[in-house]
Symmetry: C2
Subunit: 100 residues, 2 copies
DNA sequence: CAATACCATAAGCTATAGCTTATATAAGTC
DNA sequence: GACTTATATAAGCTATAGCTTATGGTATTG
C-alpha cells in the first residue's frame, strides 16, 4: 500500500547507492558515511527516509547502529510492479496484435 | 541500465497516476488532462519524463497523440528490483537465521 | 483560408529535497 | 568524571521539480 514511499526513497541516486550497499550486509552509519560522498548527517537523513519506507531496519549495538535492508518495503513495491507489468504487457500485446 | 530514470519518473504521484491510467489503454493528452487535476502543459511535461524513461510511447493520429505504457522501461526496473530482492532476501535470511 | 482543436514549448514562480555546518545526546574509554 | 566516538537533530542555504499562464505550431473543419 505504501510503494509510493519506496519509489520516492529509491529515486534519489545517493540514497539508492546507500540502499544498494545495505542490500548485502549491515553497515553502521559511520561506514556508510566514509564510503559515501556526502556528510554523516546527510547519510543519517537518507537512512531516515529509507527507514520510513520500510526498506531498511536498524539494530543498535552500543553506540553504533547497524542498518540493513529489510524485505518489507521491497515486497510492496515488487507487488505493485508485478501488477503493473501484467497490465502493461497484456494491454501492449492487445495493441500490437495483428488482428488479421 | 536506466532504471534510475524509471524510478524518478514513477516517484512523483501525479506522474504515477498518469502512468497507471496508461497501463491499460492508450489515452490522448487531452483525455489525460481532463482526468488529471493539473493543466494540459503539466500533463505534457509529465509525459515527456515518462517517455524519457521509456515507460510510455506515442502514436500520433492526426492532431492527437496517443500515449500508452510500454514494457521497455518497466522491464529494466523489474530486473533491477528482482536482483535487489534476491540479495535482500538472502542477506536477510542469513541475518535472521538461528545459528544453533 | 479562417477558425478551431490538440499538443508542445517557453518563461516564470514557489515549495521543497538534499546538502551543509553546528550542536545535542548517548555510550564506551582512560 | 573528563574525553573521545557514533549518531541524530536543528537550522539554514541552494538548486530544481512541478506547477502555472502564455504562446507557438500543426492538423482538421467549415
Amino acid at each position: 500500500m505504501s510503494y509510493g514511499n519506496a519509489l520516492t526513497a529509491l529515486a534519489d541516486p545517493t540514497r539508492r547507492r546507500l540502499y544498494e550497499r545495505l542490500r548485502r550486509r549491515p553497515h553502521t552509519v559511520g561506514e556508510l558515511a566514509r564510503l559515501a560522498r556526502v556528510s554523516q548527517p546527510a547519510v543519517s537523513q537518507h537512512l531516515k527516509v529509507l527507514s520510513g519506507a520500510r526498506l531498511v531496519s536498524v539494530r543498535p549495538d552500543g553506540v553504533r547502529r547497524y542498518y540493513q535492508a529489510t524485505p518489507e518495503g521491497l515486497r510492496d513495491l515488487r507487488a505493485w510492479l508485478d501488477a503493473m507489468w501484467d497490465d502493461v504487457l497484456s494491454a501492449y500485446a492487445r495493441g500490437t496484435t495483428d488482428p488479421t
